[in-house]
C-alpha cells in the first residue's frame, strides 16, 4: 500500500514537472521580461507608472497585432512573410482614401480589413491548391503587395485626420487605447484558444496528414489561417496610421522578422501545433523593451540588434532544451 501511494505521489510530481516543462518556453520568456523590466526599472525612474505602461504598449502594439496573425499561421505550421506588404499597403490606402468624413473612414477601415483577409485567404488558397511552400509564396506576396503600395503612394505621405491620430492616444480609466486593444486581444485569445477552430489549426500544424485523415479540409484551414494573418496585419496597419499619421509604402518590412521572433521568443513552435498568443505578447514586449534597456544602459545603440539576437537564441535554446527533456520523460 505504502509503496503504491508513493508511486502515485511521484507520478503526480512527475506530471507537475512535465507540465512545467511543457510551458518552459513561455516561462523562460516571462522571466526574461521580468529581468528586463527590473533592470530597466532600476535605472530609470517612473517605469512602474500607468503612463509608462501606456507608452510602451503603444510602442509594441503594431508588432503585437502583426504577431497575432503570425502566431496563428505559425500554429498551423506555416509562416507569413507577406504581412510586411500588407501593413504597408494598409497604411497607404488609409492615407490616400480616408479624408475627413468619419463615415468614409469607417468604410475604408472595413475595406482595408476585408482586403487583408481576402489577400491572406488567396495566399492560403494558392498554398493549398498548388501545394507550395508558404515561405516562398508569402515572400513573393510581400514583394507584390509592397510594389502595389509603392504604386499607390510612391513615398511617405498622404494623411489621416487629427482625430484619428488622437484616437490612438485616448485614455479611459487611466489606460490608453493600446492597453485596451491589448486587453481585447487577450479576451479574444481566451475565447479563441478554446474553440474547435483553434484545435483544428493546431492539429493541422502538428500533423497535416493526421488532420486530413480526420476530415479536416486543408484548403479551408489555410484560407482561414492566412486570412486571419492578413486581417491582423491590416488591423496593425490601421493602428500604425495613428502612430505615423499617414502612409508609408515600405514600413511593413520592419515587422516581418520581428513578428516571427516575438512569437518564437514567446514559445510558439516554428514547427506548428504548440504555443499561444500570451507568449507572443510577452515576446513583443521583450523586443520593444530591449531598445529602452539599451538606451538607459547608455551603451552604443549598435548593441541593440546584438542583444535581440542573443535573447532570441536564449529563448529558443530554452525551449528546445525543455522539449528534449519532455520528450525523454514522455517516452
Amino acid at each position: 500500500m505504502n509503496s503504491s501511494s508513493k508511486q502515485l505521489q511521484s507520478a503526480q510530481s512527475m506530471n507537475m514537472q512535465s507540465r512545467l516543462l511543457a510551458h518552459a518556453p513561455f516561462l523562460v520568456a516571462c522571466s526574461m521580461l521580468v529581468v528586463i523590466v527590473a533592470i530597466y526599472g532600476s535605472l530609470q525612474t517612473g517605469v512602474f507608472t500607468i503612463d509608462e505602461i501606456n507608452l510602451n504598449t503603444a510602442a509594441a502594439m503594431t508588432l503585437m497585432l502583426a504577431a497575432t496573425g503570425q502566431t496563428i499561421v505559425l500554429l498551423r505550421g506555416g509562416i507569413d512573410l507577406s504581412i510586411g506588404g500588407m501593413i504597408s499597403l494598409g497604411t497607404v490606402i488609409a492615407a490616400t482614401r480616408f479624408g475627413d468624413d468619419p463615415a468614409n473612414i469607417l468604410l475604408w477601415s472595413g475595406i482595408i480589413l476585408a482586403i487583408g483577409f481576402g489577400i491572406g485567404a488567396l495566399t492560403g488558397l494558392l498554398i493549398s491548391v498548388l501545394r507550395l511552400q508558404p515561405f516562398l509564396v508569402t515572400l513573393a506576396g510581400w514583394s507584390i503587395l509592397n510594389g502595389i503600395a509603392l504604386m499607390i503612394l510612391p513615398t511617405d505621405g498622404g494623411k489621416v485626420p487629427e482625430w484619428w491620430i488622437g484616437s490612438g492616444y485616448l485614455e479611459f480609466l487611466g489606460l490608453g487605447t493600446p492597453v485596451w486593444i491589448l486587453l481585447a486581444l487577450i479576451v479574444f485569445w481566451c475565447w479563441f484558444r478554446a474553440t474547435r477552430l483553434c484545435t483544428i489549426i493546431k492539429a493541422t500544424g502538428s500533423s497535416e496528414k493526421s488532420a486530413f485523415l480526420s476530415g479536416v479540409s486543408i484548403t479551408r484551414i489555410n484560407i482561414i489561417t492566412y486570412g486571419l494573418s492578413g486581417f491582423f496585419a491590416a488591423l496593425a496597419s490601421l493602428y500604425l496610421t495613428t502612430q505615423i499619421g499617414g502612409g508609408s509604402p515600405n514600413i511593413g518590412t520592419d515587422y516581418i522578422l520581428p513578428s516571427v521572433a516575438a512569437a518564437i521568443i514567446g514559445g510558439v513552435s516554428l514547427f506548428g501545433g504548440r504555443g499561444h498568443l500570451f507568449g507572443t505578447i510577452v515576446g513583443a514586449y521583450i523586443l520593444t523593451l530591449i531598445g529602452n534597456l539599451v538606451f538607459v544602459l547608455r551603451v552604443s545603440s549598435y548593441w541593440q540588434p546584438v542583444m535581440s539576437g542573443v535573447i532570441l537564441l536564449l529563448a529558443v535554446l530554452a525551449s528546445s532544451y525543455a522539449e528534449q527533456k519532455a520528450r525523454k520523460r514522455g517516452s
Partner: protein
C-alpha cells in the same frame, strides 16, 4: 442485402496499379476479414471506402446507393469510419482531444466543453473496456501500442455502422490484441460491420465470419471462415503453395560469444540486463510491451544512451551513435521498429536506400564508383528477391513487405554480423514472413548472430533458439529448448519467478 457492394474498383498511382477491378461485398453484423499479400491493395481499398482517396473506376454501393466520398467526413456521414494503418492522431493534442477531434461537445460560447468531453471519454472507455490510458496525456508521449488503442477509440467515438480496422492489432502486445479482437466481435454482435485486416492468421480465425482474399489488386475469393482451410487461404493469397511458414530449426549456434551484455541499464526503462548472444544463434526477446525491449535495442545500436558493458566478438565496445555501431569490420546493425520514420528514405530510390550505410565504401579519392555500387545493389536485390521495377524505383512506392526487405538489405550490406531485429515482421504478409524467417535462419547458419524481438508470440516460439523474457527492464527468464512455449513466455512476462 449487403450494406457494402463494390464492383470492379480500380485505382492507379501514376504507373502503379494498386487496385485492378476489385470486388467486395459485406453485411451488417459480421466481422469480414480482408487478407492479401503486402501491396495487394487492401489499404488502398479501405482508404477509398473511407473517403481518404478517390477511385479511378468501378462502383461502390452503400445501402444500395451510389457512393463516392470526396473526404473522410462524407464517409462518416454514411456511417463509415476507419482506423488507418498509418495512424491519424495528432501528436500535439491530448488523448481526449484526439478522440473527439472536430466533434467536441461545445458550450454556448461555442468553445469546447472540456468536462463534458472528459465525461464522454470515460463513458466510451468503460463501455468497451479500454485498457487504461490517461486521457489528458499528449499523444506524442504515447507508445505505438497506446496510440493504436486511442486510434480505435477515435474510430468508435464516431459511432459508425461500419468500422474498418487496418492492421490495428499489428502494434499491440498480446493482451491488448486479444481485447481488440473481442471488441471487434462485440461490435459485430451489436449489429455493425467490422472490416478487419490482419496478417495474423490466428486472429482472423478467432473472429472472422467471412474472409475475402485480395491478390494484385483484385479479389480472388470470398469464403465463409468456417468452411475454408488456412492452407487454401494462403495459397490464394500468394498464388502458390506455401511450403511452411516457419523454417526448420537447426542448431547452428557455436560456442563463440558474439555479443556479451552486462549490467546494461538506462533507468527507468532498463535496469541491468545480462545475456550472451552466440555466433549462429537466433536469440528471441519477449515480454510485455514497454518493459525495456525497445530501449535495449536502441541503446545497443547506439541510438540511445545506456550504461553497462558490451563486448562484441570479445572486444569491449561503447557506441554513442549508430554510425559507430555500423562502421568497422565488426559492428551491430538494427532493423528498426518504425519502417517509415527510421528505416527508409521514402522519396529516394531503392538503390540510394540500400547503399546509404556503406556509401563511403564506394568512394575512391573522394569520388564514388557508381558501377560498383550498382552491382552490389543488384546483387542484394536479387538475393533478397526485392520486388521493384528497377533499382531506381522510389522506395515509398514499394509494398510494406518489400520496404522491409530493403531495410534488411541495407543492413546486410554493412559488415555487421550481429543483427538486431525489432519486430521485423510487423505488418508483413505470411508469404514474406516465411521468407524473412528463412533468411534469418540462413544468416544464422552463415555465422550471423541475431537478436530478435517480436510482438507475435508464435514467431518467438517457432523461430528463436532461446527466448529471453524482459520484465521491468531486467531479464526475467531465459527459456531454452522445450521450455519455449507461448504459456511460459507469458508467464515469465507477467508473474514473478526466479531470475535468470
Amino acid at each position: 442485402m449487403d450494406i457494402v457492394q463494390v464492383k470492379g474498383l480500380t485505382k492507379r498511382f501514376g504507373g502503379i496499379v494498386a487496385l485492378d477491378g476489385a470486388d467486395f461485398s459485406a453485411r451488417l453484423g459480421e466481422v469480414h476479414a480482408l487478407l492479401g499479400e503486402n501491396g495487394a491493395g487492401k489499404s488502398t481499398f479501405i482508404q477509398i471506402l473511407s473517403g481518404a482517396l478517390n477511385h479511378d473506376g468501378g462502383d461502390i454501393l452503400v445501402d444500395g446507393q451510389d457512393y463516392r466520398p470526396v473526404n473522410p467526413d462524407e464517409a462518416l456521414g454514411r456511417g463509415i469510419a476507419a482506423v488507418f494503418q498509418e495512424l491519424s492522431l495528432v501528436p500535439d493534442l491530448s488523448v481526449e482531444q484526439n478522440i473527439w477531434f472536430r466533434r467536441e461537445p461545445r458550450t454556448w460560447l461555442r468553445t469546447v466543453d472540456v468536462s463534458q468531453m472528459r465525461q464522454q471519454t470515460l463513458e466510451l472507455f468503460e463501455r468497451y473496456h479500454f485498457p487504461s490510458i490517461a486521457t489528458t496525456r499528449e499523444v506524442r508521449n504515447l507508445t505505438l501500442a497506446e496510440r493504436q488503442i486511442v486510434e480505435v477509440a477515435k474510430g468508435l467515438a464516431k459511432n459508425p455502422r461500419i468500422l474498418i480496422l487496418d492492421e490495428a492489432t499489428s502494434a499491440l502486445p498480446a493482451s491488448e490484441a486479444t481485447w481488440l479482437l473481442s471488441l471487434a466481435r462485440q461490435l459485430a454482435d451489436e449489429g455493425r460491420l467490422v472490416i478487419f485486416i490482419s496478417h495474423r492468421m490466428g486472429e482472423v480465425r478467432a473472429i472472422a465470419d467471412r474472409v475475402s482474399v485480395f491478390r494484385n489488386g483484385s479479389t480472388v475469393a470470398t469464403h465463409d471462415a468456417a468452411a475454408v482451410s488456412d492452407d487454401q487461404i494462403v495459397t490464394e493469397m500468394i498464388g502458390r503453395q506455401l511450403a511452411r511458414l516457419y523454417p526448420e530449426r537447426m542448431d547452428t549456434a557455436t560456442d563463440r560469444v558474439a555479443l556479451q551484455v552486462r549490467d546494461f541499464s538506462s533507468p527507468p526503462m532498463l535496469n541491468g540486463v545480462n545475456f550472451d548472444l552466440r555466433e549462429g544463434e537466433v536469440l528471441g526477446v519477449g515480454g510485455l510491451q514497454g518493459h525495456g525491449q525497445r530501449e535495449m535495442f536502441q541503446s545497443l545500436f547506439g541510438a540511445d544512451k545506456a550504461l553497462g558493458s558490451v563486448t562484441l566478438w570479445g572486444k569491449p565496445v561503447c557506441f554513442d551513435t549508430p554510425r559507430q555501431a555500423l562502421s568497422g569490420s565488426e559492428g551491430i546493425a538494427l532493423v528498426p521498429e518504425d519502417r517509415r520514420g527510421q528505416g527508409l528514405l521514402l522519396t529516394k530510390s531503392v538503390r540510394e536506400n540500400l547503399s546509404l550505410p556503406v556509401i563511403r565504401r564506394f568512394s575512391h579519392l573522394g569520388l564514388l564508383n557508381q558501377r560498383k555500387e550498382a552491382e552490389l545493389v543488384r546483387e542484394t536485390m536479387k538475393s533478397l528477391s526485392i520486388k521493384a521495377d528497377t533499382p531506381e524505383q522510389i522506395a515509398g512506392t514499394l509494398s510494406g513487405g518489400n520496404q522491409q526487405k530493403v531495410i534488411f538489405g541495407k543492413m546486410l550490406m554493412t559488415q555487421a554480423r550481429v543483427l538486431l531485429l525489432y519486430d521485423p515482421t510487423r505488418g508483413v504478409d505470411v508469404g514474406t514472413k516465411g521468407e524473412i524467417f528463412q533468411l534469418m535462419r540462413q544468416l544464422a547458419s552463415e555465422g550471423y548472430a541475431i537478436l530478435f524481438y517480436s510482438s507475435d508470440l508464435p514467431e518467438l516460439v517457432n523461430v528463436a533458439d532461446r527466448v529471453m523474457v524482459l520484465r521491468s527492464g531486467r531479464v526475467a527468464r531465459m527459456l531454452e529448448g522445450d521450455d519455449i512455449t507461448e504459456e511460459e513466455i507469458l508467464r515469465a512476462a507477467v508473474f514473478d519467478s526466479e531470475a535468470a
